[in-house]
């Protein structure tokens, strides 16, 4: 157990540089770009004195490196700063939206695996059959479909034409969120409170956005699963299992897929970044109140502290997922030592 803890700590320590690098990049570009965020914010005709005053207020008149160091210090104390536009801290702006994005991304991931892995395994098992080619074509095409377009198409067919699912939003109009939401994860909340109608409503709203993500990203996983399975199925222990009279289906799934799954898991961690990107676009399509929408909104409002804060949070999220995947990997594969 001690080894595991040390492993976790080491991995966390390794993720810090990445967050740091991204932070720096965004910070630098923001400050170095032509155009003055403050005057843009105040409107083109504000008198210089007002602009200067605002700048002093926000600490933007100090030299860049001083600002940078201040910001880093702030971050180290877990303070993301204050919004430049609205009267709130950056964190409070983000806090409500974060669970929405995470929920969407998780469900998207779920569908991606649900669609991608079995199809990939099936294609591998029936190599060169029409089903194999069909599945591969589907995978390739799916990946090229812009996720927002897929969202729009699904919205069109299933929400507007067929009325099977709601068009947008996270919950129905009549649900008062504050009454039941404690964690911000509506599915979790509904389960905790044992409220079935709300649970169904929330799932209803989750379905189209998640499956949009699921379908588009399944392409990558179909290809990956298929390739890994094909490689794994060439292994000696597969032949040995067949030689012992183990039925083909058990060999494929218990021996083959289980071993192939490990690299798939790693890829999931890497694909999380793509899932996040897709989630943001999907949020726009389905008016989902998440971080993606927040980002776009605040960009319009030129609320740069919030923009910075969102980037930082995203960077942390990606690192955390990467860490979790590594840990799962260590737990599943007995050969990994910690």
């Amino acid at each position: 157990m001690k080894g595991l803890l040390r492993y976790i700590v080491t991995r966390i320590a390794l993720t810090i540089p990445m967050v740091f690098v991204l932070l720096t990049i965004v910070f630098v570009v923001l400050r170095v770009m032509p155009g003055d965020p403050v005057s843009a914010f105040l409107g083109g005709h504000a008198p210089q004195s007002v602009i200067d005053q605002k700048k002093e207020e926000l600490g933007l008149n100090k030299p860049i490196y001083v600002q940078y160091v201040n910001y880093l210090g702030q971050i180290a104390r877990f303070n993301l700063g204050n919004s430049m536009v609205l009267d709130q801290t950056v964190w409070s702006a983000i806090r409500d939206k974060l669970p929405a994005t995470i929920e969407l991304t998780l469900f998207g991931m779920f569908f991606t695996l649900l669609i991608g892995v079995p199809l990939g395994a099936f294609a591998a098992r029936n190599r060169r059959s029409p089903a194999d080619f069909g599945i591969r074509i589907f995978g390739n095409v799916a990946y090229c479909i812009p996720v927002y377009w897929m969202g729009l198409m699904l919205q069109l067919v299933f929400a507007v034409w067929l009325h099977w699912f709601p068009v947008a939003g996270r919950t129905g109009a009549r649900v008062v969120i504050s009454t039941f939401s404690t964690t911000g994860f509506y599915v979790l909340d509904a389960i905790i409170h044992g409220n079935i109608p709300i649970l169904l409503d929330v799932l209803d709203h989750l379905f189209l956005p998640s499956i949009t993500l699921g379908i588009v990203l399944s392409g990558v996983f179909i290809r990956l699963t298929r390739a890994n399975m094909l490689d794994t199925l060439k292994a000696d222990f597969i032949l040995a299992a067949h030689a012992r009279g183990v039925p083909d289906r058990i060999v494929t799934y218990r021996h083959g897929l289980k071993n192939a799954f490990v690299p798939i898991l790693t890829m999931l961690g890497l694909q999380f970044a793509i899932l996040l990107s897709g989630a943001i676009l999907t949020e726009t399509t389905f008016s989902w109140p998440g971080m993606g929408r927040l980002l776009v909104e605040r960009i319009y409002l030129r609320d740069y502290p919030v923009v910075q804060g969102v980037i930082v949070i995203f960077a942390i999220m990606v690192s955390v997922i990467s860490l979790i995947v590594d840990l799962l990997y260590a737990l599943i594969d007995p050969r990994v030592k910690y």
Binding site: D236, H242, A243, G245, P247, H255, K258
Partner: protein, 341 residues
């Protein structure tokens, strides 16, 4: 009287690939007798491993058997349905492979391997039974039963090979096929392995097909030896016959290749040349290009596999009467000319 338990008749195995069809095994016939150890010897690419895999129909596509039969206790394995084949594997005929490092699933414990093997043949096996039986077999093979709880990567190569044997024997099969079992092990472990096989033969009265390119190792344990070359059987006979009186020049060459530690040698004996191209095999004897005693007829007509001594067969024109050879050289076709393959 020795009872045949496995009879291979006129077996042909092909691998159709993009550059042509590789004729890996051509018209091979042999018999395995109950309680015997049959050694299948030859150099890399001669078709022995392919032959071994085909006995349990484990050939990887695109390889396929294109002719002949494999009769186990009178029934043709090639005609078995999926379920019969599955029940045959492991329980009646078991196979052990070359590389023990990769023959075990790295994500499963040893006991899981055993449990699965037992379960798929008898659904009513309980975990306790399985644990007991596997532990027993491991001890017989000289491994501590505590090892059952470990993962394959925690064991040494020699131990893993023994576990493979254990998995092969746990269902008490009639036949064990060992495909290059010691190739990836060091010589000391190899020697221990040979002793192990000898013990097993006595204990279980099991028939063994031992496939190897190492003639010396096979000689220690085999009752009969079949020598393969270029996809065909060059010679087959008892171990004594093969060593005392080898009929085929290739066999003689192989025996000569084995260095003798007791005798001072200036250089290692080897056979010049390389194996034949199996996509367009030569029309005559496959060994013709490298044979020190080659004749004209060897290049044009494949020699038939005939018995020249009781229990010893060879495919070589040297032992056929001159009249037959001359007739063939002049293009006539006497009664028992070999089939063009």
């Amino acid at each position: 009287m020795a009872q045949p338990i496995l009879e291979v008749k006129n077996l042909f195995i092909d691998y159709p690939i993009s550059i042509g069809t590789v004729r890996a095994v051509r018209d091979v016939s042999f018999t395995l007798y109950k309680g015997d150890v049959l050694g299948l010897v030859g150099e890399s690419g001669c078709g022995k491993s392919t032959l071994g895999l085909s006995l349990l129909r484990l050939l990887r596509p695109p390889g396929k058997v294109s002719g002949g039969s494999i009769e186990y206790e009178g029934r043709d394995v090639l005609a078995f349905g999926t379920e019969d084949l599955r029940l045959l594997r492991g329980a009646q005929i078991a196979m052990v492979f070359q590389n023990p490092l990769t023959s075990l699933n790295p994500l499963l414990r040893i006991r899981d391997h055993f449990f699965e093997t037992l379960r798929v043949h008898n659904a009513f096996t309980t975990r306790e039974e399985a644990e007991k039986r596997s532990g027993d077999i491991l001890e017989q093979l000289g491994i501590d039963r505590k090892r059952l709880h470990e993962y394959p990567h925690q064991l040494s190569g020699g131990m893993r090979q023994r576990i493979m044997i254990g998995l092969g024997l746990i269902l008490n099969p009639e036949i064990l096929i060992a495909d290059e079992p010691t190739t990836s092990l060091d010589v000391i472990v190899e020697a221990g392995f040979v002793d192990l096989l000898k013990d097993l033969k006595v204990q279980y009265n099991i028939s063994i097909i031992l496939i190897s390119h190492n003639l010396a190792m096979v000689a220690e344990i085999a009752d009969r030896i079949a020598v393969m070359y270029g996809g065909k059987i060059a010679e087959i006979g008892t171990a004594e016959q093969i060593f005392a009186e080898p009929l085929h020049p290739y066999t003689r060459g192989l025996i000569g290749c084995v260095p003798n530690i007791a005798v001072t040698q200036d250089h290692l004996v080897s056979m010049p040349g390389s194996p034949p191209d199996l996509v367009t095999p030569p029309p005559g004897c496959p060994f013709a290009d490298r044979c020190p005693e080659v004749m004209d007829v060897c290049r044009t007509n494949p020699p038939p596999l005939k018995e020249y001594n009781p229990g010893q067969q060879a495919a070589c024109w040297l032992h056929e009467p001159e009249s037959v050879r001359d007739a063939l050289s002049h293009g006539e076709a006497p009664a028992d000319a070999g089939q063009q393959v």
